[in-house]
């Protein structure tokens, strides 16, 4: 079998078989509707993206305040006993009113 000739024939067959160019009914309407729905979805995407972007500075601020609170606690005079410190803090207002009297 002459393979080169067969290949040539098959290419000629493909050339002779031009594809159809028919378009499904209302295809352009479908594309327009898709674009419109995508635009609506985009608003939500923008909102979500905004929230995610806002989350980063929020976390940064929380970490900063956490660090500040930790360092302030470390430098403040403490008895070293958490329960004692808690009680002192809780009763600070009572102590202050006693001193005022």
């Amino acid at each position: 079998m002459n393979l080169a000739e067969l290949q040539k024939k098959l290419i000629a067959a493909a050339r002779a078989d031009a594809p159809g160019d028919h378009v499904p009914y209302a295809f352009e309407k479908r594309i327009t509707a898709l674009l419109a729905s995508r635009a609506a979805a985009d608003k939500w995407t923008l909102w979500t993206r905004g929230l995610w972007r806002a989350a980063v500075p929020c976390v940064a601020i929380a970490v900063m305040f956490g660090a500040w609170a930790f360092l302030a606690q470390a430098s403040a005079p403490s008895s070293g006993d958490l329960s004692q410190d808690f009680e002192n803090t809780l009763l600070a207002s009572v102590d202050q009113s006693d001193q005022a009297q």
Binding site: P19, D21, H22, P24, E28, K29, I31
Partner: protein
Amino acid sequence: MERTEAELISAVLKGDAASFEPLVLKYSPRVFATARRYARRESEIEDIAQEVWLKAFDKLKSFRGEAPFEHWLMRMAVRTCYDFLRGHQRNRELSFTDLSEPEDDWLERFVAAPESASENADAAKLLVERVLEKLSPQARLVITLLEIEDRSVKEIAGITGWSVPLVKVRAFRARAEMRKIVGKMAKDKYL
């Protein structure tokens, strides 16, 4: 009064998505014809055409108007078809044992007298479709553009974004790949 293409494109870029519709209406036949070169099922063809138009809408800002809109769009269509081929590399096992009767008959006619086997026969079209399906995506793209659509190497380079020497190398490899597949078809039939 009917708006020109440039006016429509400019309106779309200003946010009037409805102005895109006349462009879709005008060029969809060409987009569908291109998609039908690479996909067989109508659902796949519609998916490709839809993707082409969505990409065209998203990338319209990159259209500078130096070349006709149609050329820009067709480049996008061919690239989308190529992506489709790469994503759907099915049925590429090199076996031709399931040829239909008309395909068998056409091959036998060709072996007996090559000139008697008409390239216009449906069986020949089915056979070439089988052969093309077994090509790698790259080879299929090159064979389609170069041999079937009769485009120049320079045109193919423009469409695919490959350099001219690269197109030549890929064309050489694609022809060799097709020859191998045709050879396998002959072997399966007669050995």
